[in-house]
Structure formats: C-alpha cells, structure tokens
Symmetry: C2
Subunit: 410 residues, 2 copies
C-alpha cells in the first residue's frame, strides 16, 4: 500500500502540470471510450447485479447499482461537460507587492492525491475520476464492495485512455486493498495522501473523521429547515414547502422540519395540511401545531432525524430568534431557508444562521453543484474549512504563493 501511494504522490506531480488542451482531449477520449466499451462495462455490472440479488440487496440499492446503455451515455456526457469547464489550475487568486518589493502571487494549484470513499453508484467512479483529472489531482478511489466489478471495468477503460496518451495510469487508481483494513491504512498515510472525502453512511463518516490523520472533507447529513415568518408572502408558502419536502425526499437538501411563526400558524396550517395530504406526507408536529391540524406529536428524536423520506416535522415558534435557536441546536449546517418579506428579519436570519447555504424565499433543494452553476460536484461539504457547500472542481484546488524577488534579504 505504501509503495502504491508513494507512486501516486509522484504521479501527482506530473498530473499537476498538464496543460489544459491535453487534459480536455484526454477527458473527451475517456467519454468516447466509455461508450465504445459499454458492452464490457455492462457485462461486469451484470456480475455485480447477480451477486447483489443473491446477497438480497434492497431494490433501491440494486437500482443505484444498475447500469444501462443510457446511464453509460450519461456518464460519458458528464465527463464531456467537465472537459468544457474553465481551467481551475493556475488562476491568480490575489497578487501584491510587499514593502520589501517582493511580488507575491497567490496561485491556484491542485491538492495532490485525493482519496474518495463511496458506495454503490458506479457513475461516481467516472465522475470523480474526471473531476480529479481536470483539476490536476490523482484520485485513489474506494467504491462499495457491491459495485466492485463495475468500478474495476470503468477504471480499466479510463486507464487505457491514460496509457494511450502516455500518461501514468496511476492518475486514476482503485485502492488496491479494498477491505476495512485497507481504508484504515489509507487514512493514516498523510505523507502521501492530501485529502480524504468520505461519502456514505454516518458510521463510515464518523469512523473516517475520528481516525484519519489526513484532512477530511465530509459529505455528511443534511438536516434542513424552512422558517415561515409572519411576513412571508402567502402565495409562496405552500409551493416552497411542498417542493422542499416532497420533490425528492431522499436527498440531503430536502427539508426535514418546517418552522412556523405563531402569528401565522392558524391561518397557514390547514392549507399546508391539505397540500401535504395530497402528497401522502407523514406529518409530525409540536403541541401547538396539533391544535390546528391532525399530527403525531414530534419528539426530540424526530427533530434530530434526517428522515430521507416523505416525513415532516412542523413546529410553531415565537419569532425568528426562536427559529434561529432551533436551527442552531438541530441543524446540520447544510441548507436553511426563511420565507419573509421583512428586510430586517431576513437579514437577521441570513447573518445568524450558521450553515453552508442560507436561503431567503427559495426552496432548500437548490443546494447542489448543478443548480449553483458550478458544474458537476464531488459532493456537498458539511465541513466549515477549505470548502463548504457544493464542491466543484475549483474546490479541488488549493494555492501556493509564488514570490518574485530581486535579491531581497532580511
């Protein structure tokens, strides 16, 4: 493993300095190669599917695992879109002359070697490999065991394109030891690995962040709230609440708890109730909510749960301060929204809520790389450091200072 990672580190120095033309040409060839080799990839995906069926994987999991001709074409398209993005490396972020006359340039550079730990969906393999390649990084991929055949086949196709272009194949690597011990070993190799991005269940993420000596950017849980202020524009409340909860309940930027200002509760709750009933949403609520509509009483646990399902907590609060306080206690720092026309209240919410994304008058569902206009994303960071919110290719860079002198000494 150590030798493998040492090699990855060396490779990162080559990849870091490739020119944009070459990177984009290689990416387009990778997209074409995925389509040209779809039979090969589908064959290996079939093996994963049969083993998954034998191992009684849930139908939801099997669906995430499944590749089709169409899904492979989507993977190829995603790579082509990554190729079209602006070069993230070599940007001058700042520059100034010091009192000593040194010309300091703060320049974006690749991070180096990035380890990504993920589950099930095989398209993550090609997306992540392309994002890392475009941003000049070497990726070490550790996919789920259930997708092993598919991931190996996809990586093989991409590596062949690297070889054809006389580039080191280790620029895109699968972790050679994909057991738990392999992961345990990987996250201790801070000499060779610059960043770990764990994506997956809470247990995995906690394990990695508690044990890694390599910096970790978590792609963690999203426990998102919407606060309906008494001065919310009435005509928007139901549309936004339904969209945030029901359009895709299984994703991290969907809403789990709706907070409602007490002065508007009696007026708005019956209409909300009808709309959610039409969507077959399971409603839980505080004692105050239960005065107006038929809900189970929400517990402390409910407010702490990321349902990832069509279930919603409703809580009546006194004012924006109580809403901010509730979010500080139960929120996961992902996405929070306020619906209000009141200038002061909106600004208070945006200033005082500590989350990657704080919205005024919009659904929380917009938190992703695509909707932000960042292009494909590595994930949505719930870290506060380095990168926060949707992580596009420029979040896969760091910087260095280049300092141009004229013989200065101190």
């Amino acid at each position: 493993m150590q030798k493998f990672l040492e090699e990855a580190k060396k490779t990162s120095r080559t990849i870091a300095n490739l020119d944009t033309h070459k990177k984009n040409r290689v990416l387009r060839e990778m997209a074409d190669a995925l389509i040209a080799n779809s039979d090969f990839i589908l064959e290996h995906n079939n093996k994963d599917m049969s083993e998954g069926t034998l191992n009684n994987l849930s139908s939801a999991l099997l669906d995430r695992l499944l590749l089709t001709q169409q899904r492979i074409e989507d993977m190829a398209l995603a790579i082509k879109q990554i190729a079209e993005q602006k070069e993230p490396v070599g940007k001058t972020l700042e520059g100034w002359i010091t009192e000593d006359g040194l010309n300091i340039q703060k320049i974006s550079v690749p991070i180096g070697v990035i380890g990504i730990i993920y589950e099930s969906r095989p398209n993550v393999t090609s997306d992540t490999a392309a994002l890392c390649f475009k941003s000049g990084n070497v990726c070490v991929l550790k996919g789920g065991k259930e997708a092993e055949h598919s991931n190996k086949a996809i990586a093989k196709v991409l590596k062949e394109v690297l070889a054809k272009n006389k580039l080191p194949q280790q620029a895109i690597s699968l972790l050679p030891d994909s057991t738990r011990e392999g992961v345990a070993n990987l996250i201790k190799q801070d000499k060779y690995v610059d960043l770990i991005v764990p994506r997956g269940g809470e247990a995995l993420i906690r394990y990695v962040s508690e044990n890694s000596s390599v910096p970790v950017i978590k792609h963690d849980k999203g426990l998102c709230h919407i606060f309906v202020d008494k001065d919310a524009a009435h005509n928007r409340i139901i549309d936004i609440a339904i969209n945030a909860k029901c359009q895709r309940p299984g994703v991290c930027n969907s809403m789990e708890t709706l907070l409602i200002h007490e002065e508007i509760a009696a007026y708005i709750l019956p209409g909300l109730y009808d709309a959610f009933m039409e969507e077959e949403t399971v409603l839980k609520g505080c004692e105050e909510t239960a005065k107006y509509i038929d809900v189970q009483i929400a517990t402390e646990d409910d407010y702490n749960t990321e349902y990832l399902a069509n279930i919603l907590n409703i809580k009546v609060v006194k004012n924006v301060d109580e809403a901010i306080e509730h979010i500080a206690i139960y929120g996961s720092g992902h996405s929070e929204s306020i619906l209000s026309e009141n200038y002061t209240v909106v600004n208070k919410f945006l200033d005082h809520v500590d989350a990657a994304c704080v919205y005024a008058n919009a659904s929380t569902r917009f938190t992703d790389g695509g909707a932000f206009g960042l292009g494909a994303e590595v994930g949505i960071s719930t870290n506060k450091l380095h990168s926060r919110g949707p992580m596009g290719i420029s979040d896969l860079t760091t910087f260095k200072y280049k300092i141009y002198g004229k013989g200065q000494i101190r």
Copy 2:
C-alpha cells in the same frame, strides 16, 4: 469540559456578529489594560520564572518565558495593530445570478470555536486572543504548563475588558483542564470545536493530527532549501545564502540545505565557504562538495533534519530537475527558493515545487505574516487545505453562501 465547550459554541454566535467599531474599541481597551496591569502580569510571570528555574528549564526557554515592561508594551502594540486591520468578516468573496434567478453571495464568516495549543511564549496568548476576537471567533487557549501563571494573568486582564463591555467572557477562554487528558478530550469535540491549531514540537503535532476528529491546521516544521542555478546572478548568491541560514537560524523559514548546480560549484563554493566560516556555520556536504571545500559528509539523516541551528547541508546537483526532485523528497512544503536569471528554469522551479511559498531570487526568510503584509499571524500553515503559508486574520474565516430568491422551487 463538554458543558464549557457548548457554552463556547453559543458564545461564538454572539461574537460572530459584532460590528467592527465595537470590536476595535474593545481591542484598543485590551491593549491599554495590558499596560495598566503590567505589575499584576509581571508578578505572575515571576512565579513562572522561579518555577522554571527550579525545574531547570534551559536558558533559551526561560528567555522565551520572560516578560518585561517592554515586552508587555509590545504585546499591547500588537493588539492595537490587529485592531487597525481591515474587517475580515462579511466580505463578498464572489457573487452571481444562477440560471434559476437565485442571487448567490459567497460571504466570509468566522470559523466559530478555535482551539490553539502552544508552548512557552506568553505573548502568544494575547496575540492569538486578539486575532480570534477581531475575526469573530471564540478561542480556547491551551498554553504550556511552564507559562501557566502568566497566561492566566493575561487572560484575566483581557476577560475583564470583555466583561466591562458586556461581552461574554468566554470569547477568550483558557482550556479548563490543561492536562494531557484535557487536550485528548478537546480534539474529539467536533460538535463544538471547529478548528484546532497545534503549535509546538513534532510529537505534539503528530499526536494531535493523528487523533483529532476536529479539522487541524498544522504549524509544522520548515525544512527549506535554496537552489543556486548555473545562471544565478553571482553577486547575490552569498548574501542570500548567508541571510537565509544565519540571520536567525532557529526559525522555521531559515534554510537547512543549499543545492548548487554542478557547473557553478567550483566557482562559487570557496567564496561561500569563507562567508559561512565568518558566521561560524557548521557545514556538511555531499562527496562532490567535499572536493572543493572542507566539510563533514552529509548523511541521509542530515538532509531530513530541520536543524534550527547554525548548521547547513550543501549538495551539488546536476540541474533544476534534480533540485526539484531533492526538494520533493526532503522538503516540508514550507518555503523553497531558486536563484537564477533563466526565465524557463525559474518558471519550472516555481511551477513544479510543491510548497506553500516558492521564491525566485529572494531569501526564504520572508515567509511570515508581517513580511507578507498580512499583519500578525496565527502561525505558518504547512497544511495544503484551507490555509497555506502565513495565516493572517482572513485565514481565520470561512464562508457561507447567502442565497436571495424570489420564490424559486425546483
């Protein structure tokens, strides 16, 4: 401890939104209070000094521990300079309108609760407290045991100013349990602590980065090189080499190894030798170096050592590529410099050397917040993520996205 940190987290929400006028006024009052209370502080520093003498601390350590009236005035001045710096919070870093018409604003915000673990010098207590306060963060300080009385006295004076201004005193906190177990506990509290900055010996830094579940920004070792290319301007070589090694050998941005292009070795080594002998530098060198001047033969260990002393390795290399390769193996990613007039060679070095600061034609000694014009610094990050190189107050911020909608749903 948990309750203490929970309180610190709550306090961070108050401190994050203080206006600039108030912060600066409080900082100036802190500076004045340090001077007004110098007798009190010196008295407690005396206790540390007597205990240190009893415990046989080295004279170098005792000197770092010692406070004088002048040193307290310097601490006050540093706080006043921090007050004068530009507000780091609330800057619009980027902003754009998405295709859906959302107005996205990327705004700088404080990190939250920052734990800083450091040794000996009591001025770090007031510098760090002021830097964190100015950038809207709560600091949890864990100083060295040998400076405990001094640190407590300084913190008491600063906290009194907070109280007088009706601000929560926990904005500036000393870790209540300052034992090893206290530190072990602190670095696991990722629910309440947002960042740990360890400053100190290699063992401490390794322990923290291997065991922390809180993100860590290391202030680690500086093993810096200068490469003298064959096309270096001859008149600068000796001045820069002497400055980088001898002006202050005990600091992290001083040079440990001088790399010399083989075509210039015979010409330049005798002059360098004379200059270093005048500075009483201990010289070690490769076999090739030993052909020209009188040096001990440098070992593999020597190239890996941050001497922090007036000792230098000299190695003759074939060209810039071998210099880059040597730095990739032995460098610590801190500061590296090339002396050359050749455009292509300089750019190759600046592009391919992976370090926080890469210099052309200047001494490595300029890597610090003051010389960079960033003002006082929390340290020099040898991390690649979030912050790299000298960390000023703006490196103590992260960002959030504020998103202004008009009722958008997906």
